[in-house]
C-alpha cells in the first residue's frame, strides 16, 4: 500500500470540497441523523488548509486588526491517500509548504508529471 500526498488549490472551499467528492476522496454520509464527510476509497486524510497567508496582517495588542492579511489566491486542501488521483491544474507544488503530516517531510507529495518532450 503506497501512500500518496497531494497538495491542491481550488477557487474556493465549496469548489474544492465538491472536486474531492467527484474524485472519490470523500463523501457526505448521513446515518443515525448525523451528516458527516466520510473518507472513501483509499483516503487516509483530508486537511482543509484554507487560504494561505502571503503577507501577514497587523493587529493591536487587543487583537484588533489594523491591516488585513493578504492571501494567495484560492483555497487549499491536502489529501493523503493510497489511490492515484489526478487533480489536473488544481494540484500544486509549493516550495515552502504551509502544512505537513507528522512523520512525513513537509515537502512530501506526488511529484509533478514531467512535461512531454516536444516532437521534432
Amino acid at each position: 500500500m503506497s501512500i500518496q500526498i497531494y497538495k491542491t488549490n481550488f477557487a474556493d472551499e465549496t469548489t474544492g470540497k465538491a472536486a474531492l467528492v467527484a474524485a472519490g476522496v470523500w463523501a457526505e454520509v448521513t446515518e443515525e441523523g448525523v451528516t458527516q464527510m466520510v473518507y472513501t476509497n483509499g483516503t487516509q486524510a483530508v486537511v482543509d488548509i484554507g487560504k494561505i497567508v502571503k503577507t501577514p496582517g497587523t493587529y493591536d495588542p487587543d487583537g484588533k486588526e489594523i491591516t488585513p492579511p493578504v492571501y494567495y489566491p484560492g483555497w487549499c486542501y491536502d489529501v493523503m491517500t493510497t489511490d492515484t488521483l489526478d487533480f489536473g491544474s488544481n494540484e500544486v507544488y509549493p516550495t515552502n509548504p504551509a502544512h505537513g503530516f507528522l512523520g512525513w517531510p513537509v515537502t512530501a507529495e506526488v511529484p509533478p508529471t514531467p512535461p512531454a518532450e516536444e516532437e521534432e
Partner: protein
C-alpha cells in the same frame, strides 16, 4: 495456560498495524483478534514515566558519534572538520562540503532525524541520503530541527545547502531513528502520579487534528508576536518530553504582556493549549471568550471552567481552553495581558508545546517546526474470529467494555460495536453525538432490543458498561448498577461477524481511551454483571 480474563490493550501485543493478540482467549470469552490499525502518521503519547513520547520512533540510535565527541565515524569531504564537539561545515562555496556516515539507512524505510544546527553565515545546511537532494530537509537558521523522510540510499549526508556562496555552519547532537507510522498508542496520561504497580494504561484512539501554530516549541521564533515577555532560548530546561528544549519567559515592564502567533489563526471554534511550569509567577493566562482564563500556581486552580489544567510529571501542567474564544490565541504571565500582569513584572514561567487545533477538545500534543502539522485520525477495526460471535442460531451473549471519553461534548457519535457489517444487527456503546451522554444499544433485525442513550458521564472517569442480550432477558449495567432491562424476544436476522472501534463500515469511529473489551458467549448472571462493571476501583 490461558488466562480467564483479558485487559485491553495488552502492551506486548501492540505492534505496527494491529492491536491485541489472540493469546488470551479462553473457553467462553472472545477477545477481539488483531484489529487492523492505521494512522499513517506519527503521534505522541504519555509513557509510564509521564513523559511525552512519539509512538513509532525506534529507541535504537542509528548514528554513531552523533555528538562528535571524537573525530571518527564520519567521512569529511570538501573541508568539513570535527572539533570541539561539533561537526563543522565551512567553505567558500566552491565545493560540496559535507559530513557523511555510511550504512545508516535501509532503503525504503522512514526515518526521523534530529539535529542541533548553528548557522553563522551562508545559506544553510541540507540533510539527505547519499543520492537524493535534501530529501530530509534543510536548515537556514540556527535551531533544533526534526526531519522525516524515506531513504533511497544507505548513507546519511549533512552538507552545505547551496554552492557558490561562502558558508559557516556546524551541527551537533545528530540522531537518526527508524520510524513506523502505524504503531498504536498505549497511553499513561490518566496514570501519572500512580505507583507503577497500580497503573492501568489505555489504548488511545484520537481523531484527525492539525496543530496550526508554526513553531510549537520555539517562542523566540519570528512566527510569534511578543509584547514585553523576554524569551530565554539559550538556557533551556527539561520539557515534558524529557529533553532540554523548554524556554523561560519573563514578564517585562509595559502596558501589555503577551505572546501570540504573528499570523493570526482565524476562527473562534478552535481549542488551544500550552504546557507551563512555574518559576516564580503567581498566575498564567490564556485569552478566552469570557475575557481571560488563568491558572493560579499556588492554589492549583483555574479561574473558570473554560480552562482545564492537566498535571504532567516534573511540575509541568498543560493548560487548555475550549472554544469558543477570542479570535486571537494568546497567553502570558498574570491574570490578563495588561493590568493583571503588572504585579508579575520580573516573574518567569517555563513554556513549551503550544497547540491550536480544530477539535472542540484538546488532543495529544503535535509538535511543529515551520509548518502546520496533522496527526491523522486512527482507525482500529475488523477484528473477527469465526465461531465466537453471536448468531441467529446461538444468540446469547454479553458485551463489556471499560472506556473513557476525551471530552464531555463530542458533537458526533463515538462508538465501538460488534456488528454484521451493517446497523441491522449490532451491539455497542460509546458516546452520543449530543453532549455528555453515553450511547448504549443492542439492535436485532434493525429494531432496538434495548438501549440507553441518555446516561450522563463523568469525563474524568472510566466507564464500565455491559450489555446482556438473550432472547427474553436483556439488560444494561453501568458502573455496577443495572440501568435497563426488558424481556424482548427480538431475534437476529443476520450473524454478527466483527468487532470494530466504529459504528460499522467507516462511520462514527470511537475516539477515547479503552482499557478492556470482552465479549462473553453466554448471558452473564446479575451477580456477574454487577461484579464485572463495579467501578469502585
Amino acid at each position: 495456560m490461558l488466562k480467564d480474563y483479558f485487559e485491553v490493550p495488552n502492551k506486548p501485543a501492540i505492534k505496527s498495524g494491529n492491536v491485541l493478540s489472540c493469546d488470551f482467549t479462553d473457553h467462553e470469552t472472545f477477545i477481539p483478534q488483531p484489529l487492523d490499525f492505521t494512522r499513517n502518521t506519527l503521534a505522541t503519547y504519555v509513557d509510564c514515566n509521564g513523559l511525552i513520547k512519539v509512538s513509532g520512533v525506534s529507541d535504537t540510535e542509528l548514528v554513531t558519534n552523533g555528538d562528535f565527541a571524537t573525530d571518527s565515524n564520519w567521512s569529511k569531504f570538501g573541508g568539513a572538520t570535527i572539533s570541539e564537539g561539533k561537526g563543522n561545515i565551512i567553505g567558500d562555496g566552491s565545493l560540496f562540503t559535507n559530513l557523511t556516515q555510511a550504512n545508516v539507512f535501509i532503503v525504503g524505510k522512514t526515518y526521523e532525524i534530529t539535529v542541533d544546527v548553528t548557522i553563522n553565515s551562508g545559506l544553510g545546511l541540507k540533510f539527505q541520503d547519499g543520492i537524493t537532494n535534501a530529501n530530509f530537509g534543510h536548515a537556514t537558521v540556527s535551531g533544533v530541527y526534526t526531519f522525516y523522510g524515506v531513504a533511497n540510499n544507505t548513507s546519511f549526508v549533512i552538507g552545505r545547502r547551496t554552492g557558490g556562496t561562502p558558508f559557516n555552519s556546524s551541527v551537533n547532537n545528530v540522531s537518526v531513528k527508524e520510524v513506523d507510522l502505524n504503531v498504536p498508542r498505549i497511553d499513561y496520561l490518566t496514570e501519572i502520579g500512580k505507583a507503577k504497580e497500580l497503573q492501568k494504561p489505555s489504548l488511545l484512539l484520537e481523531p484527525q487534528s492539525t496543530n496550526l501554530v508554526l513553531f510549537s516549541e520555539d517562542f523566540s521564533n519570528s512566527s510569534w508576536e511578543n509584547i514585553s515577555l523576554t524569551v530565554d532560548n539559550v538556557n533551556l530546561v527539561t520539557s515534558p518530553d524529557g529533553t532540554k528544549n523548554a524556554q523561560k519567559i519573563t514578564a517585562e515592564a509595559g502596558n501589555f504582556r503577551l505572546i501570540r502567533p504573528a499570523v493570526n489563526i482565524p476562527g473562534t471554534s478552535l481549542t488551544f493549549s500550552i504546557f507551563v511550569k512555574n518559576v516564580n509567577a503567581d498566575n498564567f493566562y490564556l485569552r478566552t471568550s469570557v475575557g481571560f482564563s488563568y491558572y493560579n500556581f499556588a492554589t492549583k486552580t483555574v479561574s473558570n471552567p473554560n480552562l482545564t489544567a492537566t498535571e504532567f510529571g516534573n511540575g509541568w501542567i498543560r493548560l487548555s481552553v475550549r472554544p469558543p474564544h477570542n479570535a486571537y490565541k494568546q497567553f502570558g504571565i498574570g491574570t490578563n495581558e495588561s493590568t493583571g500582569g503588572q504585579s508579575e513584572i520580573g516573574n518567569s514561567v517555563y513554556v513549551w508545546g503550544m497547540q491550536v487545533e480544530s477539535p472542540s477538545y484538546t488532543t495529544s500534543y503535535i509538535p511543529t517546526s515551520g509548518s502546520t502539522v496533522t496527526r491523522n485520525g486512527e482507525t482500529c477495526i475488523n477484528a473477527g474470529q469465526l465461531g465466537v460471535f453471536p448468531t441467529i442460531a446461538e444468540p446469547d451473549g454479553t458485551f463489556y467494555g471499560e472506556f473513557k471519553g476525551l471530552t464531555d461534548v463530542y458533537g458526533q457519535y463515538s462508538l465501538m460495536t460488534i456488528n454484521d457489517n451493517s446497523s441491522d444487527n449490532l451491539i455497542g456503546f460509546g458516546f452520543n453525538n449530543v453532549g455528555n451522554r453515553l450511547w448504549i444499544r443492542c439492535k436485532k433485525s434493525n429494531a432496538t432490543v434495548i438501549d440507553d442513550i441518555n446516561q450522563t458521564y463523568d469525563v474524568d472517569k472510566f466507564q464500565k458498561v455491559a450489555i446482556k442480550f438473550s432472547p427474553g432477558s436483556n439488560s444494561i449495567y453501568l458502573n455496577g448498577n443495572q440501568i435497563k432491562s426488558n424481556t424482548s424476544n427480538q431475534a437476529f436476522n443476520g450473524d454478527i461477524n466483527q468487532f470494530d472501534f466504529n459504528f460499522h463500515t467507516t462511520l462514527h469511529y470511537f475516539y477515547g481511551r479503552v482499557r478492556e473489551i470482552k465479549l462473553f458467549r453466554r448471558a452473564l448472571t446479575d451477580t456477574e454483571l454487577t461484579e464485572l462493571t463495579n467501578n469502585i476501583v
